[in-house]
C-alpha cells in the first residue's frame, strides 16, 4: 500500500524570502547581500534573519542609509564579476536611487553595445495597508517597468517569493523583485529544495469561462475573493497573476481574453498612468474584435497613500470594489 503523501511544508511569505536569499547565497559564490539593516538586524521585516550568521560579514553587510550608493555599489560590482543582491528597504526609496537604477543599471548594457552584463537582483518592499502613510506604502512598479533593460517581478505567494528570487539571481539581467509587506505572514507551500519560478510567464490561478481578471502582487488574492463573489452573479472569472511585468506575458492575457471576451485589470498602484493602462492598450491592440465590453481597471485613487486606517481602507482596492466595478462594466 502506498504511503500517504505528506502534507507539503508551509512557510510564511517572510520565511520564503529568507529561504530564497539563502539558496542564492549557497548556489552562487559571487553573490552578496548589501542594504540598510540587512546584516546585524536581519532586515526591518526580518527576512534576512540568519543570513549574516550563515554567510559571514564579507558577504552580508549593512550599508549607510545611502540608496544611490547602495545601488551604485551593485552596478559597479556586477559589471566587474559579482552577482549582488541589493536591498532597497521600501520601494518608496527608489526616488533616492533612481539615477543609478534608471540611468546606470538599466542602460549600461545597451550604452556599451551589449558588452556589459549586470546580474543585479534588487529586493524591495511595496504596498499599503499598514498605516505607514504616503512615503512607505506605494506601489511604484510603473516607474520601473517603463525602463528598458530592467526586469520586474512581483511575488504574491510564499512559493513565488522564493522561486522568483532564485530566478532573479540566476538571470544575467538586472531584476527588481517587488515584495509585499502585507503578505509577510501569509502561509503557503514552499518546497525545501531549490526551484525557480520562470520570469516572463503569467500564472493562471483560477480558470473561468466568461471573464478575465488580470492582476499581480497582493491584489491577486482580492481578485480571487472577488471571483468567488462574482460566481453568484453568473460570472465565471478567470484570474491571471502576471508575476512578471517586464517581460510581460502578453500571450497569456490575449489567450484568456479571446476565450472570455471581457477583462478587468486590478492593481494596487494609482490607477491613472498605472501599469493597467499598458495592459488595456495591448488587449485592444491584440484582441479588439474579441471584446464584448470595455476593459475595466481597478486601482488606487489619484491621491498619495493616506495614513488614517479609515482613509487607507478606502484607498486600497479590495474584492468588493472589484465586484462593484465588474457590475458597472457589465451593466449588472
Amino acid at each position: 500500500m502506498a504511503e500517504p503523501q505528506p502534507k507539503p511544508r508551509e512557510l510564511p511569505y517572510v520565511a520564503a524570502i529568507t529561504e530564497g536569499v539563502r539558496t542564492v547565497m549557497q548556489e552562487q559564490p559571487d553573490a552578496f547581500v548589501a542594504g540598510e539593516d540587512v546584516a546585524e538586524a536581519g532586515g526591518v521585516y526580518g527576512y534576512y534573519n540568519g543570513i549574516l550568521k550563515e554567510f559571514g560579514p564579507d558577504r552580508v553587510f549593512d550599508t549607510p542609509i545611502s540608496e544611490e550608493g547602495i545601488v551604485g555599489l551593485g552596478v559597479g560590482a556586477a559589471a566587474t564579476g559579482c552577482r549582488p543582491i541589493i536591498d532597497v528597504m521600501f520601494m518608496d526609496f527608489m526616488g533616492e536611487c533612481m539615477d543609478e537604477i534608471a540611468n546606470q543599471l538599466a542602460k549600461m548594457r545597451y550604452m556599451f553595445g551589449g558588452r556589459a552584463t549586470l546580474p543585479v537582483t534588487i529586493l524591495s518592499m511595496a504596498g499599503a495597508g499598514a498605516s505607514l502613510a504616503a512615503q512607505h506604502s506605494q506601489s511604484l512598479e510603473a516607474w520601473i517597468c517603463h525602463l528598458p533593460g530592467l526586469k520586474v517581478v512581483m511575488a504574491c505567494t510564499p512559493y513565488d517569493a522564493k522561486g522568483l528570487i532564485i530566478s532573479a539571481a540566476r538571470d544575467d539581467n538586472p531584476v527588481i523583485v517587488v515584495l509585499n509587506k502585507m503578505s509577510l505572514a501569509m502561509m503557503g507551500p514552499v518546497p525545501e529544495e531549490s526551484y525557480t519560478v520562470p520570469i516572463g510567464e503569467a500564472n493562471l490561478v483560477r480558470s473561468g469561462s466568461n471573464y478575465t481578471i488580470i492582476s499581480y502582487g497582493r491584489m491577486v488574492h482580492e481578485a480571487l475573493a472577488a471571483a468567488t463573489q462574482l460566481e453568484k452573479l453568473g460570472i465565471d472569472a478567470e484570474v491571471i497573476d502576471l508575476r512578471s511585468l517586464q517581460p510581460l506575458d502578453s500571450d497569456a492575457i490575449v489567450a484568456s481574453v479571446k476565450k472570455t471576451h471581457r477583462a478587468m485589470i486590478v492593481h494596487e498602484a494609482v490607477r491613472f498612468g498605472g501599469f493597467g493602462g499598458e495592459i488595456t492598450a495591448q488587449i485592444q491592440e491584440l484582441a479588439f474584435d474579441y471584446l464584448d465590453a470595455p476593459v475595466a481597471r481597478v486601482g488606487a485613487p489619484f491621491s498619495p497613500v493616506p495614513f488614517s486606517p479609515v482613509l487607507e481602507a478606502t484607498y486600497v482596492p479590495n474584492a468588493d470594489r472589484i465586484v462593484a466595478e465588474a457590475k458597472q462594466q457589465l451593466g449588472l
Binding site: F61, E68, G72, G76, A78, R109, F112, G113
Partner: protein, 323 residues
Amino acid sequence: MSSEITDDILLDIHRRMVRIRTFEERAGKMMEDGKIPGALHLYVGQEAIASAVMVHLSNEDYITGTHRGHGHLIAKGGEFTYMFAELYGKATGYCKGKGGSMHISNLDLGMLGANGIVGGGPPIAMGAAFSCKFRKTKNVSISFFGDGASNEGAFHEAANMAALYKLPCVFICENNGYGEYTPQANHQAIVDVADRAPGYGMPGVVVDGMDAVAVYEAAGEAIARAREGGGPTLLECKTYRYYDHVGVRGMGLSYRTDEEVEQWRLKDPIVNFEARLAEQGVLSPEAAQAIHEEVLKEVEAGIEFAEASPDPDPAAVTEDVYA
C-alpha cells in the same frame, strides 16, 4: 611612498597626453564640421591628469570617466579606430554606435564608461572597488569626476561608503573651475574640494593638475595605499578646460574671460612637460615633434576607419537591451 619616475614613464605619460590632445583637437573639428553627430565635451587642457594616473594602472584596474571622458579612455589604452567609429555612431565603434561620446567605454580595458550623468560614476567606481576587495584581487578602482560632481549626493554617498569599507578606490577630482558654465565660486563655498576628504575619513590631497609629474606622484601614493588595503584617497587636481563645457569655442564667452584662458594656457601640460623633458635630455624637441606626427597619423587612420565603417543595422535598435 613616492614612485620613482623613470625616463620610460615620462615618455609614456607624454605619449598618452599627445594622443589625447591630438584626438580631441581633431574630434572637435569633426563635430564643428558636422561629421560627428551630437555633442562632445573635450578634455583639452586636462591631459596631464588621465595620462599620469593611468600609467599606474593595468587593464584589470577599473576607472569610471565623466561626460568629458575621451581622455580617460585614451589614457587607459583606447584605440582611435574604435573610438572614432563610436563618435561617428558606426557599428564598429566600441559600443556599436549605441553609446557615443558620453557613454564610450571598454570593459576589456577596465574602463567602465564615460557618463552622461554628472556624479553617476563615483558610486559605480566604488562598487568596482568593492568587487576588487570581494574577489580578493589587488586591483584598484578610480573615479574621475569634476568640481561640479562634487556637489552631487551620489559622490558623497560613494565617498562615505568607500571610506567606511576601506575600499581600494581613489577619487580623482578634476577641478577645472567650472560646473558646466558656472564658476566654482558660484557653486560651492570651498576652494579645495579635497577639504571634504576628512569629513569622509580619508586623506585629501591637492596637486597642480597641469603638472603630470605632480599628478603621477600623488596618484602613485594614493593608488599604492589603496592596493595595500589602506582605503581611499580624494585627490584633487587643479586644471582647466581650454574649450567650452560642450563643443569647441573656448574664447569670447560671457562666463569667463579670454585673459583667464590665456593665463591657463601658459601652464599647458604638454608644452611645459616637453620643455622639461628636453631640459632633462629625455626627449628632444625633434623627437617630440616626431611623436606628434606619428600620433596624428594614428588619428587620421582612426577617422579613415570610422568613415569606411558601416552604420548600424536599423534592426539593432532593440538589440543589447537584455542579456
